[in-house]
């Protein structure tokens, strides 16, 4: 009885102090610190081993804390790791974790949570679609293919707060990967407790990040993130709440924006054209380049001049302005802009070439004639394959007209297929020329450049250039620990790809957005995690 009374008194005392604290720190508990955000699709899962879409990945990354957090310009910010030691020539990482982080069920966040989470994701039974990102961590490939038990994965908890990771090969961007959702920790107790329901609704999940998810029942169109009072760095979090509203039509979200029900909205191409002078207009570059891939098992496309002619024949400025009109940019090369930088210089700028990505009609015609002569033909008919969504159709139609008007004797048949069919056919080499696209998984040029090495599984066009392969290989071996040399190798490789026209880069996708100007501190990145709300706030 006495104990109960004592506790009651303690509770009252604590609440009084807390209330007083609220009063004094008015700005921190301000009810105006609420952000209203739109999402183009539903939240699909909170299970980080299973996540495949941006909305879910962003939600998880804002409600879970990993070793690092992806900050501005794809640079990592501190997360759970207070100290990171790299040894054995970059093959061993020792992370010391902070002790003041806990899950929303009260469990402490420990090194074991990482070991468990990583093993769970790589385990083929989990069927994670992103397990391949673990490739390079000791035995990850073998575990993912079911050849070795999960316990052999190169991740160990040396003690409660010390995580040791062993790599098979040096990964220069390994710390960056640690800021990605799929490498975040999971609480084994929660996974087992919720079983098959784990991650299917807000209440079947535990959180240790800046915010906690609330109000998501697994299939509804509204949910919110609320500030997590137990977050280790909660002082840095200013927003009390972020509400999310799914609006699949940008007309709807724009109406809600005008009505001040939303602080942000995506825009479609038509709206983007009209609102491009609005003070709230933002263009969000995406780490996705669309390019033409030539089937180089066909002798016509083994001819470099034919490939170059086709590339010179396309006016990319007109393509992005007139055909796309959604803020997309002409490609400078295969690697997207704002993806990675070194010594203040963006990779795409460093690797920009004049050949391979510019429009030059006379040059195109000259190369085309020479190419045809070398092939011993007067005409060339080929099929251009692309997706069957409106945007891809517009682009393939445009390319068809450019080829046929600019290149005498070119006959182009356009074939628009459902995306998954296009991918399957391209992978099987059943195409002449395909309008392909690739989105980088992480902010490093290699995310694009790896694709076009001879034996890469995604090199659908079978472009084969020994110099290119050597450059990529050197960047991964000899020069792997020399940031400057590695950068130079990759720049040279990217230039070579453009000049030789292994593929013809066309445009980089961009998403137009309106973001109210008093919303500050929202971090956007082109790859990995789109929006980081940790430091966001409403200015007054």
């Amino acid at each position: 009885m006495g104990l109960k009374k004592g506790m009651l008194a303690a509770v009252i005392a604590v609440s009084t102090v807390a209330l007083a604290a609220c009063g004094s720190k008015g700005s921190q508990q301000d009810s105006s610190q609420v952000l209203h955000w739109s999402e183009p699709t539903e939240l699909q899962t909170l299970d980080l081993s299973k996540v495949v879409d941006t909305v879910s990945s962003d939600t998880i990354s804002n409600s879970t804390e990993g070793l690092y957090r992806l900050g501005k310009d794809s640079k990592i910010e501190p997360g759970l790791a207070t100290k990171t030691q790299v040894s054995n020539h970059g093959l061993k990482y020792t992370f010391t974790l902070r002790k003041n982080s806990k899950w929303s069920n009260g469990d402490p966040v420990t090194a074991q949570n990482f070991v468990y989470s990583w093993r769970r994701t790589v385990n083929p039974k989990t069927a994670s679609q992103y397990a391949y990102l673990f490739s390079g961590i000791k035995n990850a490939d073998a575990v993912a293919n079911g050849k070795k038990p999960v316990t052999t994965l190169g991740v160990k908890a040396a003690n409660k707060y010390k995580l040791v990771v062993t790599l098979d090969k040096n990964i220069p961007y390994f710390k960056l990967l640690m800021g990605f959702t799929v490498f975040f920790p999971q609480d084994q107790k929660a996974v087992e407790q919720y079983g098959s329901k784990y991650g299917t609704a807000a209440k079947y999940m535990v959180y240790n990040g800046p915010y906690k998810v609330a109000g998501w029942n697994g299939s509804n169109l509204n949910w919110h993130l609320v500030k997590n009072k137990d977050y280790w760095d909660q002082k840095a979090v200013k927003l009390q709440k972020i509400t999310f509203q799914v609006a699949k039509s940008t007309t709807t979200s724009y109406n809600l924006y005008q009505n001040k029900k939303l602080d942000e909205t995506y825009l479609d191409a038509e709206q983007a054209k009209q609102l491009s002078n609005n003070k709230d207009y933002v263009s969000l570059k995406q780490s996705r380049t669309n390019y033409l891939e030539f089937n180089q098992t066909n002798k016509e496309f083994q001819n470099k001049k034919i490939r170059q002619a086709l590339s010179y024949a396309v006016d990319r400025q007109q393509l992005v302005k007139k055909v796309l009109g959604n803020g997309s940019l002409p490609a400078k090369g295969i690697v997207s802009q704002d993806l990675a930088s070194y010594q203040g210089k963006d990779f795409a700028t460093a690797a920009a070439t004049t050949t391979g990505v510019t429009y030059n009609k006379s040059q195109a015609q000259k190369l085309w004639r020479e190419g045809l002569r070398e092939l011993g033909v007067k005409k060339l008919s080929f099929t251009l394959m692309g997706d069957d969504d409106d945007m891809s159709k517009a682009v393939t139609d445009y390319l068809q007209s450019q080829f046929e008007t600019n290149l005498p004797g070119a006959k182009v048949a356009v074939e628009n297929l459902p995306k998954k069919t296009r991918i399957t056919r391209a992978a099987a080499g059943q195409f002449d020329v395909v309008l392909a696209g690739w989105a980088a998984d992480f902010s490093d040029p290699i995310s694009f450049l790896d694709l076009f090495t001879k034996n890469n599984a995604y090199n659908d066009g079978k472009w084969d250039n020994p110099t290119y392969d050597r450059l990529i290989n050197v960047s991964k071996t000899t020069d792997v620990n020399n940031q400057n040399k590695r950068w130079q190798d990759l720049v040279a490789a990217s230039k070579l790809l453009s000049q030789e026209q292994g593929v013809a880069p066309l445009y980089q996708l961009s998403q137009a957005q309106l973001l109210r100007s008093d919303v500050k501190g929202v971090v956007y990145n082109t790859a990995g995690i789109a929006f980081n709300f940790k430091h966001a706030y409403i200015a007054k």
Binding site: V52, G218, S219, L221, K248, N255, I423, D441
Partner: protein
């Protein structure tokens, strides 16, 4: 009657079974995998995934497993919404679609009957012409155009109703109107035609001769008889509306089933495709049976046991 019903129910089950079978095999003919990150997975990874989900088994085996599960009430789990049972996806989303569909149907039929009747009574006057024009516009303007206009003018400019979202009754008003104008126009057209015929018939002459009031004639005699063709129309329309309209649901951000169905096909989410198709088909065959029964009630000349006689 009972024998007839049993027979009909048997055919219903048979129909559903056939629908399930055909859908299943057609669905498996679609290219691609249910994995959204397909492009970045190697063949080997895809094979490992297929193994986990039993998609590497011969198709007939997958079919048997699916049918067996369905008979036990297990519709499988969604690929798109990881780990989410399809039965939950449907049950959590059908409510909004059904409510909206029912409201749109009630709205459409109610006002359709009124407009149609008024037009028929005032045949060949300006009232008739106006109502015909309204019906034609209602039928030919796509509901999403109307939805966008309503949203912009009524919700954003006038602020009478919410722009989008799903909360209370006020949230349902604009989508109900957008969705209900189609059945309204259709009903008005049917009722007008039916009633013009009826009003010309002998028994109406007789009723008039007996000195019944105009309203009495229309309400007691003309309306009831002109509703019969409408029953055929309402049944399938109701199913179509109640199982969700993708466009209207998208415009008003309504958590309904319509969009789910289309999306599931686009992403090869096999269990969801099957689940929603079965729901649609079950709704349709049930409503067809119901329509036949209702026919008998409003028009005794149509006898249910007709086929036996």
């Amino acid at each position: 009657m009972r024998k007839y019903l049993l027979k009909r129910v048997f055919y219903m089950v048979l129909t559903l079974f056939l629908v399930a079978t055909i859908t299943f095999f057609l669905m498996k003919l679609m290219p691609g995998t249910p994995y959204s990150n397909q492009q970045k997975m190697t063949q080997q990874q895809i094979q490992i995934m297929n193994q986990q989900y039993g998609l590497n088994k011969p198709i007939w085996q997958q079919y048997v497993i699916y049918i067996f599960g369905m008979l036990h009430g297990d519709l499988g789990t969604s690929f798109q919404f990881s780990n989410q049972p399809v039965s939950y996806l449907i049950s959590s989303r059908i409510g909004a679609s059904a409510q909206l569909g029912a409201q749109a149907m009630i709205f459409g039929v109610f006002f359709g009957i009124i407009i149609g009747s008024i037009a028929a009574i005032n045949r060949n006057t300006w009232i008739d012409t106006t109502s015909t024009v309204v019906s034609i516009i209602g039928k030919s303007v796509p509901n999403f155009v109307l939805a966008v206009l309503l949203q912009y003018y009524i919700a954003l400019k006038l602020g009478w109703f919410p722009i989008a979202d799903w909360g209370g009754f006020s949230y349902t008003v604009l989508p109900t109107i957008a969705l209900g104008v189609g059945p309204l126009a259709e009903t008005a057209r049917f009722v007008r035609t039916g009633m013009v015929d009826v009003l010309n018939s002998d028994y109406i002459e007789l009723a008039r001769a007996k000195g019944l009031s105009k309203f009495g004639i229309v309400y007691h005699h003309a309306l009831r008889n002109s509703l019969i063709p409408l029953v055929t129309l309402i049944g399938p329309y109701t199913v179509a509306l109640m199982t969700g309209s993708m466009v209207i649901e998208n415009i008003f951000s309504i958590p309904g089933i319509g969009e789910q169905f289309v999306k599931s096909i686009l992403v090869n989410d096999y269990p969801t495709i099957m689940g929603v198709t079965m729901l649609f088909s079950a709704g349709l065959v049930a409503i067809i049976l119901l329509t036949d029964i209702v026919y008998g009630i409003i028009d005794p000349r149509i006898r249910l046991s007709g086929s036996e006689g």
